[in-house]
């Protein structure tokens, strides 16, 4: 066990190196902070509770898509009985009118790249190109 000092200092160095990203992020204080999203100013009530939306808005959107395109059923009845037109651009983005500060910010944070926007249009984009 003459190499004890060498082995342990090597191990510590190794552990320190592979956990470097964790320490780095903790030190810079960026990763632990969830993104701050810009919520709609006018509307306080979404089609479902915040928790549900946060967890499963993607499943809801896929269901909406299939309902509208394949079943020609366009009305969503919320838990409180309120009726909504199942439409990403015409319903979701009507309230969440700031896609960059709402959808994109969280998607960027979570590292997901939904391809909805390859076809569906952010109305803001149109206004900007017009103006």
């Amino acid at each position: 066990m003459r190499d004890r000092g060498l082995i342990f200092s090597g191990l510590v160095l190794f552990l320190g190196l592979i956990t470097f990203p964790v320490w780095y992020n903790l030190a810079s204080g960026t990763s632990s902070k969830p993104p701050e999203l810009k919520l709609p100013a006018t509307e306080k009530q979404c089609v479902a509770p915040t928790e549900t939306m946060r967890m499963s808005h993607m499943e809801m959107l896929i269901t909406w898509r299939d309902q509208v395109v394949r079943q020609n059923d366009r009305t969503y009845v919320a838990a409180n009985g309120k009726r909504y037109d199942m439409s990403l651009t015409n319903t979701c983005l009507k309230c969440h009118d700031n896609k960059a500060e709402f959808c994109d910010k969280c998607h960027d944070y979570a590292g997901v790249k939904p391809y909805c926007w390859d076809c569906h249009i952010d109305p803001k984009l149109v206004q900007r190109s017009k103006g």
Binding site: N72, T89, D118, C119, V126
Partner: protein, 254 residues
Amino acid sequence: MTIHRRTFLGVAGLSAVALAGKSSIGALAKAGEEAAPAAGAATRWAMVIDPQRCLRKEGCTDCIGACDKVHNVPLFKDKDHEVKWIWKEPFENAFTSEENPYTAEALKDKPVLVFCNHCDNPPCVRVCPTKATWKREDGIVMMDWHRCIGCRYCMAACPYGSRSFNWLDPRPRIPALDPEFPTRTKGVVEKCTFCEERLAKGEKPACVEACPEKALVFGNLDDPASEVRSLLREHFTIRRKPELGTQPEIYYIV
């Protein structure tokens, strides 16, 4: 009364044959019923076009413009990349099965509006490997652009050339984006959907609404009192390539 073994076996054999025959006939009859278009459905959308009325206003493209605008149809100048929902075709090209060499003066070489025929027996639907295109109960040959994989079998199957493929990203080629309707992406087939998104709101198709001459009439074939049915009763109409058995649902008054 006694039954000999031989008689019993004979009767039993004949009964078995009769039973088997009955069930197979029943199965065949059922298959026939399924293949036939659903009778008595509540709605069957169709269009009646009066080409001569369409010609009254020369060079008019109001319907085409309206359709392109509400559906974000890209404008590709290059014919190879063209995307078309509704367009004009010379009469002889649109009606290739009218083999009459003496077409009436009123229609000879004149442009006729053509678009998806929303066939009752759509060949495009039969070939689509992903069910991205299918026939709705109301007769609309619908498209699910989410599901289209761009194999273009439907384009090969459609005898009317009603389908276009996006060889390039269409978005930069759309003159005025309408955010209420999605665009398509590169690698997706598109065509007329009879404005199903407008029908859902109780509106008429955009082309029908835009026509200043009322040359396009849209309605329900299953309703004997509808305008399309009365037009079909009063006029002689033709359809494109009826001999193919696709049962197109766009009728042209001649």
